[in-house]
Protein backbone atom coordinates (compact mmCIF):
# COMPACT_ATOMS: atom_id res chain seq x y z
CA UNK A 1 0.00 0.00 0.00
CA UNK A 2 1.49 3.29 -1.08
CA UNK A 3 0.53 6.11 1.18
CA UNK A 4 -0.17 9.55 -0.12
CA UNK A 5 0.24 12.57 2.03
CA UNK A 6 -2.23 15.28 1.13
CA UNK A 7 -0.96 18.80 1.12
CA UNK A 8 -1.74 21.02 4.10
CA UNK A 9 -3.29 18.21 6.11
CA UNK A 10 -1.66 15.27 7.74
CA UNK A 11 -4.41 12.78 7.05
CA UNK A 12 -3.23 9.80 5.07
CA UNK A 13 -5.48 8.48 2.31
CA UNK A 14 -4.99 4.95 1.16
CA UNK A 15 -3.77 4.56 -2.39
CA UNK A 16 -2.98 1.16 -3.82
CA UNK A 17 0.24 0.85 -5.79
CA UNK A 18 -1.59 -1.06 -8.51
CA UNK A 19 -4.09 1.76 -8.92
CA UNK A 20 -1.32 4.35 -9.08
CA UNK A 21 0.50 2.36 -11.74
CA UNK A 22 -2.65 1.79 -13.78
CA UNK A 23 -3.57 5.45 -13.68
CA UNK A 24 -0.09 6.58 -14.63
CA UNK A 25 -0.08 4.09 -17.52
CA UNK A 26 -3.43 5.31 -18.86
CA UNK A 27 -2.40 8.92 -18.47
CA UNK A 28 0.80 8.34 -20.42
CA UNK A 29 -1.03 6.55 -23.25
CA UNK A 30 -3.61 9.34 -23.53
CA UNK A 31 -0.92 11.99 -23.23
CA UNK A 32 1.06 10.47 -26.09
CA UNK A 33 -2.09 10.33 -28.23
CA UNK A 34 -2.75 14.03 -27.53
CA UNK A 35 0.80 15.24 -27.87
CA UNK A 36 2.18 13.32 -30.86
CA UNK A 37 0.11 15.14 -33.51
CA UNK A 38 1.17 18.50 -32.05
CA UNK A 39 4.79 17.38 -32.06
CA UNK A 40 4.39 16.11 -35.61
CA UNK A 41 3.04 19.51 -36.68
CA UNK A 42 6.10 21.23 -35.19
CA UNK A 43 8.43 18.67 -36.81
CA UNK A 44 6.81 19.21 -40.19
CA UNK A 45 7.26 22.97 -39.86
CA UNK A 46 10.97 22.56 -39.13
CA UNK A 47 11.70 20.09 -41.95
CA UNK A 48 13.55 21.32 -45.04
CA UNK A 49 11.78 20.58 -48.33
CA UNK A 50 13.79 17.47 -49.15
CA UNK A 51 12.82 15.94 -45.80
CA UNK A 52 9.15 16.80 -46.32
CA UNK A 53 9.23 14.79 -49.55
CA UNK A 54 11.51 12.03 -48.44
CA UNK A 55 10.66 8.38 -48.77
CA UNK A 56 10.24 6.71 -46.36
CA UNK A 57 9.06 9.71 -44.34
CA UNK A 58 10.44 10.22 -40.86
CA UNK A 59 8.60 11.43 -37.84
CA UNK A 60 11.53 13.45 -36.55
CA UNK A 61 13.31 16.24 -38.33
CA UNK A 62 17.00 15.59 -39.02
CA UNK A 63 18.23 19.02 -40.09
CA UNK A 64 15.85 21.52 -38.52
CA UNK A 65 15.52 24.79 -40.40
CA UNK A 66 13.45 27.94 -40.18
CA UNK A 67 13.27 28.21 -43.98
CA UNK A 68 9.56 27.32 -44.00
CA UNK A 69 8.79 30.32 -41.84
CA UNK A 70 10.91 32.52 -44.11
CA UNK A 71 9.03 31.17 -47.15
CA UNK A 72 5.75 31.90 -45.41
CA UNK A 73 6.74 35.53 -44.82
CA UNK A 74 7.93 35.90 -48.41
CA UNK A 75 4.62 34.53 -49.63
CA UNK A 76 2.83 36.96 -47.34
CA UNK A 77 4.62 39.86 -48.94
CA UNK A 78 3.56 38.86 -52.42
CA UNK A 79 -0.14 38.86 -51.59
CA UNK A 80 -2.40 41.26 -53.45
CA UNK A 81 -3.78 42.98 -50.35
CA UNK A 82 -0.85 44.05 -48.15
CA UNK A 83 -0.45 41.54 -45.38
CA UNK A 84 -0.41 44.17 -42.69
CA UNK A 85 -4.03 44.77 -43.65
CA UNK A 86 -5.07 41.24 -42.65
CA UNK A 87 -3.19 41.57 -39.37
CA UNK A 88 -4.88 44.91 -38.78
CA UNK A 89 -8.30 43.37 -39.48
CA UNK A 90 -7.79 40.48 -37.09
CA UNK A 91 -6.48 42.75 -34.34
CA UNK A 92 -9.31 45.23 -34.87
CA UNK A 93 -11.99 42.52 -34.83
CA UNK A 94 -10.46 40.77 -31.82
CA UNK A 95 -10.09 43.95 -29.77
CA UNK A 96 -13.51 45.40 -30.59
CA UNK A 97 -15.29 42.07 -30.16
CA UNK A 98 -13.50 41.10 -26.98
CA UNK A 99 -13.85 44.36 -25.07
CA UNK A 100 -17.42 44.96 -26.16
CA UNK A 101 -18.29 41.47 -25.00
CA UNK A 102 -16.47 41.88 -21.70
CA UNK A 103 -18.25 45.14 -20.93
CA UNK A 104 -21.78 44.17 -21.97
CA UNK A 105 -21.64 40.68 -20.46
CA UNK A 106 -20.22 41.92 -17.14
CA UNK A 107 -22.84 44.65 -16.89
CA UNK A 108 -25.62 42.16 -17.55
CA UNK A 109 -24.10 39.46 -15.32
CA UNK A 110 -23.80 41.89 -12.43
CA UNK A 111 -27.43 42.97 -12.67
CA UNK A 112 -28.63 39.37 -12.85
CA UNK A 113 -26.39 38.05 -10.10
CA UNK A 114 -26.45 40.90 -7.63
CA UNK A 115 -29.55 43.03 -8.20
CA UNK A 116 -32.46 40.67 -7.79
CA UNK A 117 -35.12 42.12 -10.06
CA UNK A 118 -38.25 40.42 -11.43
CA UNK A 119 -37.35 38.51 -14.59
CA UNK A 120 -33.66 37.97 -13.79
CA UNK A 121 -34.06 34.23 -13.32
CA UNK A 122 -35.97 33.79 -16.57
CA UNK A 123 -33.32 35.74 -18.45
CA UNK A 124 -30.53 33.62 -17.03
CA UNK A 125 -32.39 30.36 -17.70
CA UNK A 126 -32.78 31.42 -21.33
CA UNK A 127 -29.07 32.12 -21.67
CA UNK A 128 -28.28 28.81 -19.98
CA UNK A 129 -30.54 26.96 -22.39
CA UNK A 130 -28.79 28.55 -25.34
CA UNK A 131 -25.59 26.80 -24.24
CA UNK A 132 -27.36 23.61 -25.26
CA UNK A 133 -27.35 24.20 -28.98
CA UNK A 134 -24.61 24.85 -31.44
CA UNK A 135 -24.49 28.09 -33.43
CA UNK A 136 -24.87 26.22 -36.73
CA UNK A 137 -28.57 25.94 -35.98
CA UNK A 138 -29.01 29.69 -36.06
CA UNK A 139 -26.53 30.45 -38.86
CA UNK A 140 -29.08 30.60 -41.68
CA UNK A 141 -31.44 33.01 -39.95
CA UNK A 142 -28.58 35.05 -38.45
CA UNK A 143 -27.43 35.67 -41.98
CA UNK A 144 -30.86 36.96 -42.98
CA UNK A 145 -31.10 39.15 -39.88
CA UNK A 146 -27.67 40.60 -40.53
CA UNK A 147 -28.49 41.39 -44.11
CA UNK A 148 -31.67 43.10 -42.90
CA UNK A 149 -29.47 45.27 -40.66
CA UNK A 150 -27.03 45.89 -43.56
CA UNK A 151 -24.25 44.29 -41.53
CA UNK A 152 -23.09 41.83 -44.19
CA UNK A 153 -19.61 42.47 -45.57
CA UNK A 154 -18.55 44.70 -42.69
CA UNK A 155 -16.65 43.79 -39.56
CA UNK A 156 -19.85 44.34 -37.56
CA UNK A 157 -21.11 40.99 -38.82
CA UNK A 158 -18.36 39.35 -36.76
CA UNK A 159 -18.03 41.84 -33.91
CA UNK A 160 -21.66 42.33 -32.84
CA UNK A 161 -22.58 38.63 -32.47
CA UNK A 162 -19.36 38.18 -30.47
CA UNK A 163 -20.62 40.82 -28.02
CA UNK A 164 -23.57 38.68 -27.05
CA UNK A 165 -21.94 35.25 -26.97
CA UNK A 166 -23.46 33.24 -24.17
CA UNK A 167 -20.66 31.32 -22.49
CA UNK A 168 -19.06 34.56 -21.31
CA UNK A 169 -22.20 35.82 -19.62
CA UNK A 170 -22.76 32.42 -18.03
CA UNK A 171 -19.25 32.19 -16.57
CA UNK A 172 -19.24 35.80 -15.41
CA UNK A 173 -22.59 35.49 -13.65
CA UNK A 174 -21.60 32.26 -11.91
CA UNK A 175 -18.30 33.78 -10.82
CA UNK A 176 -19.99 36.86 -9.41
CA UNK A 177 -22.45 34.67 -7.52
CA UNK A 178 -19.66 32.99 -5.59
CA UNK A 179 -16.97 35.66 -5.42
CA UNK A 180 -18.71 38.98 -4.82
CA UNK A 181 -20.16 39.07 -1.30
CA UNK A 182 -23.50 40.83 -0.99
CA UNK A 183 -22.48 42.58 2.23
CA UNK A 184 -19.75 44.57 0.47
CA UNK A 185 -22.18 45.72 -2.20
CA UNK A 186 -24.75 46.56 0.45
CA UNK A 187 -22.37 48.83 2.32
CA UNK A 188 -21.45 50.56 -0.91
CA UNK A 189 -25.13 51.16 -1.64
CA UNK A 190 -25.65 52.48 1.89
CA UNK A 191 -22.82 54.94 1.28
CA UNK A 192 -24.96 56.33 -1.48
CA UNK A 193 -23.23 54.84 -4.51
CA UNK A 194 -25.58 54.05 -7.39
CA UNK A 195 -25.84 50.59 -8.90
CA UNK A 196 -23.58 51.50 -11.83
CA UNK A 197 -20.92 52.92 -9.56
CA UNK A 198 -21.07 49.90 -7.26
CA UNK A 199 -20.65 47.67 -10.30
CA UNK A 200 -17.69 49.56 -11.66
CA UNK A 201 -15.78 50.45 -8.46
CA UNK A 202 -16.60 47.53 -6.15
CA UNK A 203 -17.68 44.46 -8.12
CA UNK A 204 -15.49 44.60 -11.23
CA UNK A 205 -12.13 44.66 -9.41
CA UNK A 206 -13.24 41.54 -7.51
CA UNK A 207 -13.76 39.44 -10.63
CA UNK A 208 -10.47 39.92 -12.46
CA UNK A 209 -9.96 36.18 -13.13
CA UNK A 210 -13.35 36.10 -14.85
CA UNK A 211 -12.45 39.10 -17.03
CA UNK A 212 -9.37 37.38 -18.20
CA UNK A 213 -11.30 34.20 -18.95
CA UNK A 214 -13.90 36.09 -20.96
CA UNK A 215 -11.20 37.95 -22.84
CA UNK A 216 -9.38 34.76 -23.69
CA UNK A 217 -12.43 32.80 -24.77
CA UNK A 218 -13.62 35.64 -26.95
CA UNK A 219 -10.17 36.25 -28.36
CA UNK A 220 -9.66 32.56 -29.20
CA UNK A 221 -12.94 32.45 -31.05
CA UNK A 222 -12.19 35.57 -33.04
CA UNK A 223 -8.56 34.62 -33.71
CA UNK A 224 -9.51 31.19 -35.03
CA UNK A 225 -12.39 32.53 -37.12
CA UNK A 226 -11.41 31.63 -40.63
CA UNK A 227 -13.23 32.32 -43.84
CA UNK A 228 -16.50 33.90 -42.86
CA UNK A 229 -19.67 33.71 -44.90
CA UNK A 230 -20.43 37.22 -43.71
CA UNK A 231 -17.44 38.97 -45.25
CA UNK A 232 -16.56 38.74 -48.93
CA UNK A 233 -14.51 41.89 -49.54
CA UNK A 234 -10.85 40.95 -49.68
CA UNK A 235 -9.74 43.99 -47.68
CA UNK A 236 -11.81 42.94 -44.64
CA UNK A 237 -10.77 39.31 -44.44
CA UNK A 238 -8.99 37.88 -41.42
CA UNK A 239 -5.40 36.78 -40.98
CA UNK A 240 -6.45 33.18 -40.53
CA UNK A 241 -8.31 33.23 -43.84
CA UNK A 242 -5.38 34.85 -45.65
CA UNK A 243 -2.93 32.30 -44.34
CA UNK A 244 -5.16 29.38 -45.34
CA UNK A 245 -5.44 30.98 -48.77
CA UNK A 246 -1.74 31.37 -49.50
CA UNK A 247 -0.87 27.94 -48.19
CA UNK A 248 -3.54 26.19 -50.23
CA UNK A 249 -1.12 26.31 -53.18
CA UNK A 250 -0.38 22.60 -53.19
CA UNK A 251 2.90 20.71 -53.03
CA UNK A 252 5.18 23.68 -53.65
CA UNK A 253 3.88 25.40 -50.53
CA UNK A 254 3.82 22.38 -48.22
CA UNK A 255 6.61 23.84 -46.09
CA UNK A 256 5.02 27.25 -45.71
CA UNK A 257 1.70 25.60 -44.96
CA UNK A 258 3.21 23.52 -42.15
CA UNK A 259 4.85 26.66 -40.77
CA UNK A 260 1.56 28.55 -40.86
CA UNK A 261 -0.23 25.87 -38.82
CA UNK A 262 2.39 26.19 -36.09
CA UNK A 263 2.31 29.98 -36.22
CA UNK A 264 -1.47 30.10 -35.91
CA UNK A 265 -1.57 27.64 -33.03
CA UNK A 266 1.24 29.33 -31.12
CA UNK A 267 -0.77 32.44 -30.32
CA UNK A 268 -3.76 30.86 -28.50
CA UNK A 269 -1.46 28.42 -26.71
CA UNK A 270 0.83 31.17 -25.40
CA UNK A 271 -2.20 33.17 -24.30
CA UNK A 272 -3.53 30.15 -22.44
CA UNK A 273 -0.21 29.40 -20.74
CA UNK A 274 -0.05 32.94 -19.41
CA UNK A 275 -3.60 32.93 -18.11
CA UNK A 276 -4.14 29.30 -17.09
CA UNK A 277 -4.47 29.84 -13.34
CA UNK A 278 -7.05 32.59 -13.79
CA UNK A 279 -9.13 30.48 -16.17
CA UNK A 280 -9.11 27.52 -13.79
CA UNK A 281 -10.14 29.83 -10.98
CA UNK A 282 -13.07 31.07 -13.04
CA UNK A 283 -14.08 27.54 -13.93
CA UNK A 284 -14.30 26.77 -10.23
CA UNK A 285 -17.67 28.46 -10.16
CA UNK A 286 -18.82 27.27 -13.59
CA UNK A 287 -21.02 24.51 -12.17
CA UNK A 288 -24.67 24.34 -13.13
CA UNK A 289 -27.31 23.88 -10.48
CA UNK A 290 -30.33 21.81 -11.33
Amino acid sequence: MAKLRTRKHKVVLSRSAGGDAGITFLLVILGVFMFLPMLYAIMQALKPLDELWMYPPRFYVMKPTLNNFRDLFILMNTSWVPFSRYIFNTVLISVMGTFGHLFLASLCAYAIAKVRFPGAKVMFKTVETSLMFHATVTAVCSFMIMSAFKMIDSIWAIVVPAWCSTLGLYLMKQFMDTNVPDTVLESSRLDGAGELRTFWIIAMPMVKPAWLTLIIYCFQGLWNAGASIYIYSEQWKSLNYAITQITAGGIKRAGASAASLVLMMAVPIIVFVVSQSNIIETMGSSGMKD
Binding site: M34, M38, Y55, M132, L167, L169, S286
Partner: protein, 316 residues
Protein backbone atom coordinates in the same frame (compact mmCIF):
# COMPACT_ATOMS: atom_id res chain seq x y z
CA UNK B 1 -39.11 35.30 -10.17
CA UNK B 2 -42.00 32.92 -9.73
CA UNK B 3 -45.22 34.12 -8.08
CA UNK B 4 -44.62 31.60 -5.32
CA UNK B 5 -41.34 33.05 -4.10
CA UNK B 6 -42.76 36.52 -4.52
CA UNK B 7 -45.63 35.61 -2.23
CA UNK B 8 -43.15 34.40 0.33
CA UNK B 9 -41.37 37.73 0.17
CA UNK B 10 -44.58 39.68 0.42
CA UNK B 11 -45.75 37.86 3.49
CA UNK B 12 -45.21 40.87 5.71
CA UNK B 13 -47.05 43.10 3.24
CA UNK B 14 -50.68 42.08 3.21
CA UNK B 15 -51.69 45.59 2.20
CA UNK B 16 -50.72 45.22 -1.49
CA UNK B 17 -51.47 42.57 -4.09
CA UNK B 18 -48.82 40.57 -5.92
CA UNK B 19 -49.37 42.66 -9.03
CA UNK B 20 -48.81 45.93 -7.19
CA UNK B 21 -45.74 44.52 -5.50
CA UNK B 22 -44.32 43.37 -8.85
CA UNK B 23 -44.85 46.78 -10.40
CA UNK B 24 -43.13 48.43 -7.44
CA UNK B 25 -40.18 46.06 -7.75
CA UNK B 26 -39.88 46.74 -11.46
CA UNK B 27 -39.90 50.50 -10.93
CA UNK B 28 -37.41 50.22 -8.09
CA UNK B 29 -34.99 48.26 -10.30
CA UNK B 30 -35.12 50.50 -13.37
CA UNK B 31 -31.33 50.79 -13.40
CA UNK B 32 -30.93 46.99 -13.41
CA UNK B 33 -33.11 46.71 -16.49
CA UNK B 34 -30.98 49.35 -18.15
CA UNK B 35 -27.89 47.33 -17.29
CA UNK B 36 -29.14 44.08 -18.80
CA UNK B 37 -30.75 45.76 -21.80
CA UNK B 38 -27.78 46.09 -24.20
CA UNK B 39 -26.72 42.46 -23.84
CA UNK B 40 -30.23 41.06 -23.71
CA UNK B 41 -31.39 42.97 -26.79
CA UNK B 42 -28.43 41.73 -28.83
CA UNK B 43 -28.87 38.22 -27.43
CA UNK B 44 -32.52 38.27 -28.46
CA UNK B 45 -31.70 39.47 -31.96
CA UNK B 46 -28.86 37.06 -32.66
CA UNK B 47 -29.86 33.96 -30.71
CA UNK B 48 -33.55 33.88 -29.79
CA UNK B 49 -34.92 35.50 -32.93
CA UNK B 50 -33.05 33.12 -35.30
CA UNK B 51 -34.50 30.11 -33.50
CA UNK B 52 -38.03 31.49 -33.71
CA UNK B 53 -37.53 32.58 -37.30
CA UNK B 54 -36.23 29.11 -38.25
CA UNK B 55 -39.41 27.51 -36.97
CA UNK B 56 -41.55 30.00 -38.90
CA UNK B 57 -39.57 29.71 -42.15
CA UNK B 58 -39.56 25.91 -41.93
CA UNK B 59 -43.31 26.00 -42.69
CA UNK B 60 -42.69 27.86 -45.98
CA UNK B 61 -40.90 27.26 -49.27
CA UNK B 62 -38.82 30.44 -48.93
CA UNK B 63 -35.90 30.43 -51.37
CA UNK B 64 -34.60 34.04 -51.32
CA UNK B 65 -36.00 34.71 -54.82
CA UNK B 66 -39.76 34.27 -54.85
CA UNK B 67 -41.52 36.75 -52.62
CA UNK B 68 -43.75 36.27 -50.77
CA UNK B 69 -43.02 32.61 -50.03
CA UNK B 70 -45.84 30.07 -49.96
CA UNK B 71 -46.90 28.46 -46.75
CA UNK B 72 -46.48 24.71 -47.11
CA UNK B 73 -47.08 23.71 -43.47
CA UNK B 74 -45.46 20.37 -42.70
CA UNK B 75 -44.39 19.54 -46.28
CA UNK B 76 -40.72 20.25 -45.57
CA UNK B 77 -40.72 17.92 -42.59
CA UNK B 78 -42.57 15.20 -44.48
CA UNK B 79 -40.08 15.36 -47.35
CA UNK B 80 -37.24 15.37 -44.85
CA UNK B 81 -38.28 12.21 -43.05
CA UNK B 82 -39.92 10.22 -45.82
CA UNK B 83 -38.35 11.33 -49.07
CA UNK B 84 -34.79 12.34 -48.31
CA UNK B 85 -32.55 9.32 -47.93
CA UNK B 86 -29.46 11.47 -47.56
CA UNK B 87 -31.02 13.26 -44.62
CA UNK B 88 -31.73 9.98 -42.88
CA UNK B 89 -28.15 8.92 -43.54
CA UNK B 90 -26.99 12.26 -42.16
CA UNK B 91 -29.14 11.73 -39.06
CA UNK B 92 -27.60 8.31 -38.54
CA UNK B 93 -24.06 9.66 -38.94
CA UNK B 94 -24.72 12.61 -36.64
CA UNK B 95 -26.11 10.37 -33.94
CA UNK B 96 -23.25 7.88 -34.21
CA UNK B 97 -20.79 10.75 -34.12
CA UNK B 98 -22.40 12.43 -31.13
CA UNK B 99 -23.06 9.17 -29.28
CA UNK B 100 -19.36 8.30 -29.45
CA UNK B 101 -17.62 11.66 -29.27
CA UNK B 102 -19.88 13.15 -26.56
CA UNK B 103 -19.62 10.43 -23.90
CA UNK B 104 -16.03 9.44 -24.67
CA UNK B 105 -14.77 13.00 -24.59
CA UNK B 106 -16.76 13.59 -21.39
CA UNK B 107 -15.28 10.53 -19.74
CA UNK B 108 -11.79 11.31 -20.97
CA UNK B 109 -12.07 14.88 -19.68
CA UNK B 110 -13.17 13.68 -16.28
CA UNK B 111 -10.69 10.83 -15.96
CA UNK B 112 -7.72 12.93 -17.00
CA UNK B 113 -8.78 15.74 -14.68
CA UNK B 114 -9.14 13.21 -11.88
CA UNK B 115 -5.81 11.51 -12.62
CA UNK B 116 -3.87 14.77 -12.51
CA UNK B 117 -5.66 16.16 -9.48
CA UNK B 118 -3.09 14.90 -7.00
CA UNK B 119 -0.02 15.84 -9.01
CA UNK B 120 2.04 18.87 -8.05
CA UNK B 121 0.70 22.18 -9.42
CA UNK B 122 3.52 22.60 -11.95
CA UNK B 123 3.13 19.16 -13.49
CA UNK B 124 -0.63 19.55 -13.41
CA UNK B 125 -0.39 22.81 -15.37
CA UNK B 126 1.83 21.14 -17.97
CA UNK B 127 -0.46 18.12 -18.41
CA UNK B 128 -3.47 20.43 -18.61
CA UNK B 129 -1.77 22.31 -21.42
CA UNK B 130 -0.96 19.13 -23.37
CA UNK B 131 -4.53 17.87 -23.21
CA UNK B 132 -6.22 21.23 -23.73
CA UNK B 133 -4.01 22.60 -26.51
CA UNK B 134 -5.55 20.72 -29.47
CA UNK B 135 -8.97 22.21 -28.78
CA UNK B 136 -7.79 25.83 -28.99
CA UNK B 137 -5.24 25.58 -31.77
CA UNK B 138 -7.42 26.61 -34.67
CA UNK B 139 -6.93 24.42 -37.70
CA UNK B 140 -4.17 22.28 -36.25
CA UNK B 141 -6.34 19.21 -36.89
CA UNK B 142 -5.23 19.53 -40.50
CA UNK B 143 -2.02 17.81 -39.39
CA UNK B 144 -4.02 14.56 -39.33
CA UNK B 145 -4.50 15.07 -43.06
CA UNK B 146 -0.73 15.14 -43.50
CA UNK B 147 -0.23 12.20 -41.18
CA UNK B 148 -2.83 10.08 -43.00
CA UNK B 149 -1.94 11.52 -46.40
CA UNK B 150 -3.18 9.55 -49.40
CA UNK B 151 0.24 8.97 -50.98
CA UNK B 152 3.21 6.99 -49.75
CA UNK B 153 4.77 10.16 -48.27
CA UNK B 154 2.13 10.07 -45.55
CA UNK B 155 3.59 8.67 -42.36
CA UNK B 156 0.73 6.21 -41.75
CA UNK B 157 0.88 4.74 -45.25
CA UNK B 158 4.67 4.58 -45.36
CA UNK B 159 4.88 2.82 -42.01
CA UNK B 160 2.23 0.28 -42.92
CA UNK B 161 3.98 -0.39 -46.22
CA UNK B 162 7.32 -0.70 -44.49
CA UNK B 163 6.09 -3.47 -42.20
CA UNK B 164 4.30 -5.07 -45.13
CA UNK B 165 0.75 -4.68 -43.86
CA UNK B 166 -0.31 -3.06 -47.13
CA UNK B 167 1.22 -2.94 -50.60
CA UNK B 168 -0.53 0.15 -51.96
CA UNK B 169 -1.03 3.48 -50.16
CA UNK B 170 -4.53 3.84 -48.74
CA UNK B 171 -6.50 6.97 -49.57
CA UNK B 172 -7.63 7.28 -45.96
CA UNK B 173 -10.08 10.14 -46.16
CA UNK B 174 -11.66 8.94 -49.41
CA UNK B 175 -12.49 5.40 -48.35
CA UNK B 176 -15.94 4.85 -46.94
CA UNK B 177 -14.86 2.43 -44.27
CA UNK B 178 -12.15 4.71 -42.82
CA UNK B 179 -13.83 8.11 -43.05
CA UNK B 180 -16.06 7.92 -39.98
CA UNK B 181 -13.60 6.26 -37.57
CA UNK B 182 -10.84 8.70 -38.55
CA UNK B 183 -13.08 11.73 -38.16
CA UNK B 184 -14.21 10.47 -34.77
CA UNK B 185 -10.60 10.06 -33.64
CA UNK B 186 -9.71 13.57 -34.79
CA UNK B 187 -12.82 14.98 -33.12
CA UNK B 188 -11.98 13.20 -29.87
CA UNK B 189 -8.43 14.46 -30.05
CA UNK B 190 -9.60 18.06 -30.19
CA UNK B 191 -12.50 17.70 -27.79
CA UNK B 192 -10.95 18.27 -24.36
CA UNK B 193 -12.17 21.82 -24.04
CA UNK B 194 -14.20 23.84 -21.58
CA UNK B 195 -15.61 20.80 -19.76
CA UNK B 196 -12.09 19.55 -19.08
CA UNK B 197 -11.08 22.86 -17.47
CA UNK B 198 -14.31 22.90 -15.52
CA UNK B 199 -13.60 19.42 -14.11
CA UNK B 200 -10.06 20.35 -13.11
CA UNK B 201 -11.37 23.37 -11.24
CA UNK B 202 -14.21 21.38 -9.71
CA UNK B 203 -11.86 18.72 -8.37
CA UNK B 204 -9.51 21.33 -6.97
CA UNK B 205 -12.40 23.02 -5.23
CA UNK B 206 -13.59 20.01 -3.24
CA UNK B 207 -13.15 20.54 0.47
CA UNK B 208 -10.27 18.36 1.68
CA UNK B 209 -11.93 17.81 5.02
CA UNK B 210 -14.65 15.80 3.25
CA UNK B 211 -12.05 13.19 2.38
CA UNK B 212 -10.76 13.12 5.93
CA UNK B 213 -14.26 12.64 7.24
CA UNK B 214 -14.75 9.93 4.61
CA UNK B 215 -11.57 8.15 5.71
CA UNK B 216 -12.83 8.16 9.29
CA UNK B 217 -16.21 6.85 8.14
CA UNK B 218 -14.61 3.88 6.42
CA UNK B 219 -13.94 4.92 2.81
CA UNK B 220 -11.30 2.38 1.88
CA UNK B 221 -9.90 3.19 -1.56
CA UNK B 222 -9.94 5.81 -4.26
CA UNK B 223 -12.88 4.24 -6.07
CA UNK B 224 -15.13 4.49 -3.04
CA UNK B 225 -13.82 8.00 -2.49
CA UNK B 226 -14.70 8.85 -6.09
CA UNK B 227 -18.23 7.49 -5.87
CA UNK B 228 -19.22 8.61 -2.38
CA UNK B 229 -17.40 11.93 -2.07
CA UNK B 230 -15.90 13.30 -5.29
CA UNK B 231 -18.75 12.81 -7.77
CA UNK B 232 -21.56 14.09 -5.53
CA UNK B 233 -19.48 17.14 -4.52
CA UNK B 234 -18.89 18.22 -8.07
CA UNK B 235 -22.29 17.55 -9.55
CA UNK B 236 -22.70 21.18 -10.76
CA UNK B 237 -19.46 20.90 -12.75
CA UNK B 238 -20.48 17.49 -14.08
CA UNK B 239 -23.69 19.07 -15.30
CA UNK B 240 -22.01 22.04 -16.95
CA UNK B 241 -19.34 19.82 -18.48
CA UNK B 242 -21.97 17.49 -19.92
CA UNK B 243 -23.73 20.33 -21.64
CA UNK B 244 -20.51 21.69 -23.13
CA UNK B 245 -19.44 18.20 -24.26
CA UNK B 246 -22.78 17.29 -25.83
CA UNK B 247 -23.18 20.59 -27.61
CA UNK B 248 -19.72 20.48 -29.09
CA UNK B 249 -20.09 16.81 -30.07
CA UNK B 250 -22.68 18.04 -32.58
CA UNK B 251 -20.36 20.74 -33.89
CA UNK B 252 -17.56 18.88 -35.62
CA UNK B 253 -18.89 19.39 -39.15
CA UNK B 254 -16.01 21.75 -39.95
CA UNK B 255 -13.42 19.11 -39.08
CA UNK B 256 -15.09 16.59 -41.37
CA UNK B 257 -15.29 19.06 -44.27
CA UNK B 258 -11.66 20.09 -43.88
CA UNK B 259 -10.39 16.51 -43.87
CA UNK B 260 -12.78 14.68 -46.21
CA UNK B 261 -14.01 17.45 -48.48
CA UNK B 262 -17.65 18.27 -49.11
CA UNK B 263 -19.58 16.11 -49.67
CA UNK B 264 -17.60 13.27 -48.14
CA UNK B 265 -17.18 10.15 -50.25
CA UNK B 266 -20.60 8.53 -50.78
CA UNK B 267 -21.85 10.70 -47.91
CA UNK B 268 -20.01 8.38 -45.54
CA UNK B 269 -19.42 11.18 -43.03
CA UNK B 270 -22.32 13.41 -44.05
CA UNK B 271 -23.86 14.95 -40.94
CA UNK B 272 -27.04 16.99 -40.44
CA UNK B 273 -24.82 20.08 -40.35
CA UNK B 274 -23.53 19.30 -43.84
CA UNK B 275 -27.04 18.73 -45.09
CA UNK B 276 -28.02 22.11 -43.66
CA UNK B 277 -25.02 23.74 -45.34
CA UNK B 278 -25.89 22.08 -48.60
CA UNK B 279 -29.47 23.39 -48.73
CA UNK B 280 -28.83 26.83 -47.23
CA UNK B 281 -25.41 27.71 -48.64
CA UNK B 282 -25.55 26.05 -52.05
CA UNK B 283 -29.19 25.65 -53.07
CA UNK B 284 -30.72 28.59 -51.18
CA UNK B 285 -33.76 26.50 -50.24
CA UNK B 286 -34.17 28.34 -46.97
CA UNK B 287 -37.50 26.79 -46.05
CA UNK B 288 -36.13 23.29 -46.31
CA UNK B 289 -32.84 24.28 -44.63
CA UNK B 290 -34.79 25.80 -41.74
CA UNK B 291 -36.67 22.53 -41.26
CA UNK B 292 -33.31 20.76 -41.04
CA UNK B 293 -32.11 23.35 -38.52
CA UNK B 294 -35.23 22.88 -36.40
CA UNK B 295 -34.74 19.10 -36.33
CA UNK B 296 -31.09 19.55 -35.35
CA UNK B 297 -32.10 22.03 -32.67
CA UNK B 298 -34.63 19.57 -31.25
CA UNK B 299 -32.07 16.76 -31.21
CA UNK B 300 -29.48 18.88 -29.36
CA UNK B 301 -31.90 20.21 -26.76
CA UNK B 302 -33.41 16.74 -26.32
CA UNK B 303 -30.01 15.11 -25.79
CA UNK B 304 -29.01 17.76 -23.28
CA UNK B 305 -32.24 17.55 -21.30
CA UNK B 306 -31.98 13.78 -21.14
CA UNK B 307 -28.41 13.83 -19.87
CA UNK B 308 -29.18 16.61 -17.41
CA UNK B 309 -31.95 14.52 -15.96
CA UNK B 310 -29.73 11.44 -15.72
CA UNK B 311 -26.92 13.38 -14.05
CA UNK B 312 -29.16 14.84 -11.39
CA UNK B 313 -29.39 11.30 -10.02
CA UNK B 314 -25.62 10.91 -9.50
CA UNK B 315 -24.85 10.25 -5.87
CA UNK B 316 -28.39 10.82 -4.65
Amino acid sequence: MSPKSAELKAVSRTDITYRQWLWKEIKKNKIAYAMVAPYMILFSIFTILPVVLSVVISFTDFNMLQLPPNIVWLDNYITLFFDDDIFLLACKNTLIFAAIVGPVSYLMSFLVAWFINELSPRIRALVTLIFYAPSISGQIYLIWGTFFSSDSYGWANATLMEIGAITEPINWFKKEEYVMPLCIIVALWSSLGTSFLSFIAGLQGIDRSLYEAGAVDGVKNRWQELWYITLPSMRPQLMFGAIMAITSSFGFGGVVTALCGFPSVNYAAHTIMHHLDDYAGQRYEMGYASAIAVVLFAIMIGANMLVKKALSKVGS
